[in-house]
Symmetry: C2
Subunit: 203 residues, 2 copies
Amino acid sequence: MKLYDGGRAPNPRRVKVFLAEKGITVPVEPVDLGKLAHKSPAYTAINPLQRVPALQLDDGTIITESIAICRYFERLHPEPPLFGTDAKDMALVEMWERRLEFHLLGPVSHIFRNSHPAMKDMEVPQVPAWAAANRPRVMDFLALLDGELKDRRYIAGDRYTVADITGMIAVDFMKPAKLAVPETLGNLKRWHAEVSSRPSAQA
Amino acid sequence: MKLYDGGRAPNPRRVKVFLAEKGITVPVEPVDLGKLAHKSPAYTAINPLQRVPALQLDDGTIITESIAICRYFERLHPEPPLFGTDAKDMALVEMWERRLEFHLLGPVSHIFRNSHPAMKDMEVPQVPAWAAANRPRVMDFLALLDGELKDRRYIAGDRYTVADITGMIAVDFMKPAKLAVPETLGNLKRWHAEVSSRPSAQA
């Protein structure tokens, strides 16, 4: 088994934080995004969509998409459960994980890719108006999330889950996207400080 | 239990096709998107993100996000399996489901929302340049998918899965987004005709 990794980029980091929470070690093959190694013919043969991470199983099967990779490990190593426990809890974890993807990590990524000078050759064409349209949406969602975290320790309930991993990494990704969590969102800041203090956050 | 539905809109339809494949009947509460009922205070209390569908359980719990709702039903009614069978198969189904969301349904939705006159009051501001940037990405992904379907009956293997539901609905959503599958993509057309001929496609 081998994990094709992209360093500190948000999606590979989601898988590495997840593995750290599970206490699983997987051999890693670095893919140098700065040198566009993910667009090389060799890596394109692994993932035609030219994205990291990708997990290669011992039988050669390639699994891409961070959450698909995480759920694969959840099945092999169920403890601690990071995707929920029973049907309802699992649905709520997935609901929050997806809300964070579609309303935070996704929009922050769109802002970064469509406004950061370093992405000029990666996101063609950059559409600055799309970055601008997403900034207020991110702020609206952060305010909603702050309200949710008023009465809950973690995003999907009393237990740390994969939704917290996506959330932490989305908030961290705001920095290169030149966005900041407003100081008034105290619940969100408390939650982010707590999840960031876990050893897994160093992954 | 009650499903808040949005008629033929892509996301509610994903859940209804899934339920039809499972042979499950759930009471439906229509939400009239044309009259912006999803933005009403009553519906905002159900889903603060103002999106359909939403599933209300008998204990009052609200589950949103189409795939979270589908997976909830998969746990309660495992047959026929639509999210895969073992760890590897489940990972491949989720990988393809997500590839179709992020590289087809999502971009088609962005094109529709940012270019269709009917969305002018829903997507504010519309960014036509973002719609234009996504058109070639959709075409590139369709070509990739056509190649994948050369040797496979369904998107994630020999069995119909939730990835086929997302794929069928994404292709159907191309029409209002004023996009068409190129005639040259014969494998994709064969697959779309087959999944569209299933009784569930009428949902």
